[in-house]
């Protein structure tokens, strides 16, 4: 098992190299340059060229790439052209912010979706099931920005239950518990918005997976043993039903991180997705490479997480 994990972790390196080559070529194929929209009308084209030269813009692409890789291997992701600061230094607080937001959205959606899916499946075609189904479709089809704005209007502004935006109250002077509660209050609405779509789809997957499992012969065997319906569903069916659900869950982790752009934008949440978007708009090449690398690592780690979860849940995978 440990060998397997180490092998999988080592496998990340070549994949990352491949991704970085592709992304590097693609972003340099984009028209525009890092200073395109910083142009001062008084600046001569020569001045601009000099500035571009200073960030290595005119070097051949392979040279630029090698320079980046050599740095990256040493943990040196270069200087952001826009922020005039070390890429890692700019990214680090953003990574933390996004991590907090994504994690809470994931916990929220998992804790809500799986129980709802189970109840929905055990009470198939009941009023509860229909309500949950309709709610899931609304959740899936409602645009994130719209839902976010609605929450801001009704919950935050009209009712004043939660803050409108940001990560904490500015200049509040809170410390300790007060600060924690303040931050948690700021987290509620973005979590709801970010977790909405995943909750809906996760619930549907849980429901259909459970419905599939309760039809199996081993469920009949479990019932024939005289086990109560609770044990039959929550022990025998759920353990099997969770295997496909894990796939969906692990696919949602990268989506929660890179897909947080709209949520981060609406709630003025200084996260990685927004940083990555800004970097792309600014053609801030080192910054783009930095954010892409982080997101690729997240995708691969979540795949590894899924594979490990399979092994935990399903002995047939463990022993192969």
């Amino acid at each position: 098992m440990r060998k397997y994990i180490i092998r999988r972790l080592l496998l990340i390196i070549p994949v990352l190299l491949g991704i970085s080559i592709i992304i590097f070529s693609l972003i340099h194929a984009m028209p525009g340059d890092p200073f395109a929209h910083l142009i001062d009308p008084n600046m001569t084209p020569e001045d601009k060229d000099r500035m571009l030269e200073s960030v290595g813009y005119f070097d051949p692409l392979p040279v630029q790439y090698l320079r980046w890789v050599v740095g990256a291997v040493q943990g040196e992701f270069g200087h952001s052209i826009r922020f005039k600061e070390d890429v890692l230094k700019v990214m680090w607080p953003r990574i933390q912010n996004t991590f907090v937001l994504s994690l809470s959205a994931m916990i929220f959606s998992t804790l809500l979706a799986i129980p709802l899916g189970i109840i929905s499946s055990t009470k198939q075609y009941s009023v509860f099931d229909y309500v949950a189904t309709i709610a899931a479709f609304i959740g899936l089809s409602i645009p994130v920005f719209f839902f976010g704005l609605m929450l801001i209007k009704f919950v935050a502004f009209d009712l004043g239950l939660f803050p409108i935006a940001g990560m904490q109250t500015i200049a509040s002077g809170y410390t300790g518990w007060q600060l924690f509660i303040d931050k948690a209050r700021h987290l509620v609405l973005p979590t709801l918005v970010l977790g909405l779509a995943s909750t809906a789809s996760l619930m549907r997957y849980t429901r259909s997976s459970m419905l599939e499992c309760v039809k199996q012969d081993y469920i009949r065997t479990a019932r024939a043993k005289g086990l109560s319906e609770r044990v039959v569903i929550y022990k025998h069916a759920l353990r099997n039903a969770l295997i496909p659900v894990i796939t969906v869950l692990s696919m949602q982790i990268p989506r929660l991180i890179s897909g947080a752009l709209l949520t981060e934008t609406i709630f003025v949440w200084p996260g990685l997705a927004r940083l990555s978007f800004q970097a792309i708009m600014n053609r801030d090449y080192p910054m783009i490479m930095g954010t892409v690398t982080v997101m690729s690592i997240v995708v691969m780690l979540s795949n590894l997480f899924a594979d490990l979860m399979y092994a935990v849940l399903d002995p047939r995978i463990r022993y192969q």
Binding site: Q216, T221, A224, G226, L227, R239, L313
Partner: protein, 326 residues
């Protein structure tokens, strides 16, 4: 005379389907005595499995319903007790072995866990005692290296081994009745023989009343004391096993016996029952077997015959033997 453990009277089970109501079991009565093996034979879809699931009250919901009849277990009507009481009987006093050992065990739990579950539930055995009893049970069903198998998962065992595990599981709480629904159908012939041998031994040793459901007359000849033959949800013949084979009465039973390959002389063609089982949506008005019967008479299309006793212990449902017929 041996004590009757299970008595079924006029059992009716039906299913609501999109195409209409299907009467899967239509007024079936029989009884099983202590230490005896009752064989239930019939083609696919004749209601054998539904009968056994009805006894367990495990007819698939929400479409299946037991609409009428009595299932008396030691004098208590199982159709009138609460679900919670039924759960105490299931797996404890009445246990079941299913057809497909490949899918009937839960793939994500160990053998020990799955057998131990009934032990913990019905006998309160936990911890080390539970594991010991599991190993003992695996030994009873002649599984090699039981102390290892107890920690293994179903996918690590062969089909025959899994069926042995199913038997061990069913026997775990010393049930009074064992229902075996086609226990050997999914197995190779050699493994079939082994499993049947084992079941026979255990039946002799433990004296458990057994309901053996099969479509294999060879298995019946090997195992059963008494036989009922079912056709289209009804019992058409009921007799001790010798009579079924020697003094066969019902044309359907006769047809079944004739279509066995071992009845052949070398050049003889294998005979078969012509036609198909009638559609459950469109049952004939009279005898359900009439359209396929070689000895059909006019009355057969008009009225369903009754199940009448023509010799002590030998009952048949056919106009050939009932007054008012030919």
């Amino acid at each position: 005379m041996a004590k009757t453990v299970l008595k079924i009277e006029g059992l009716k089970t039906s299913f609501n389907t999109t195409a209409g109501l299907v009467r899967a079991v239509d007024g079936v009565s029989f009884s099983v005595d202590e230490g005896k093996v009752l064989g239930i034979v019939g083609e696919s879809g004749c209601g054998k499995s539904v009968t056994s699931l009805s006894v367990m009250r495990l007819v698939p919901k929400p479409n299946g319903h037991i609409t009428d009849g009595k299932i008396l277990f030691e004098g208590k009507d199982l159709l009138r007790i609460k679900e919670s009481e039924m759960r105490k009987i299931r797996g404890n006093h009445i246990a079941m072995i299913f057809q497909e050992p490949m899918t009937a065990l839960n793939p994500v739990f160990t053998i020990g866990n799955q057998i131990g579950e009934s032990l913990a539930l019905h006998q309160g055995l936990t911890g080390k005692k539970n594991v010991e009893r599991c190993i003992e049970l695996l030994k009873t069903v002649e599984i090699p290296r039981p102390d290892k198998v107890v920690d293994e998962y179903p996918h690590q065992l062969s089909g025959g081994m899994r069926q042995r595990v199913m038997i061990a599981m069913a026997l775990s709480c010393d049930p009074k009745i064992l229902i075996a629904d086609e226990p050997t159908t999914a197995l190779d012939v050699t493994i079939q023989a082994q499993v049947l041998e084992l079941m026979k031994e255990l039946n002799a040793k433990l004296g458990t009343a057994t309901m053996l459901i099969t479509h294999d007359l060879g298995v019946i000849a090997e195992m059963a004391d008494d036989v009922i033959v079912m056709y289209a949800g009804k019992v058409v013949e009921e007799a001790p096993v010798v009579n079924i084979f020697k003094t066969t009465k019902h044309p359907y039973t006769l047809g079944l016996l004739k279509s066995r390959p071992d009845m052949l002389d070398e050049d003889e063609k294998l005979s078969c029952i012509r036609g198909m089982v009638p559609s459950p949506y469109n049952m004939p008005k009279g005898c359900a077997f009439a359209p396929r019967c070689d000895k059909r008479m006019d009355i057969c299309d008009e009225k369903m015959p009754n199940l009448i006793e023509i010799e002590p212990g030998h009952k048949v449902r056919c106009w050939l033997f009932e007054e008012g017929g030919a």
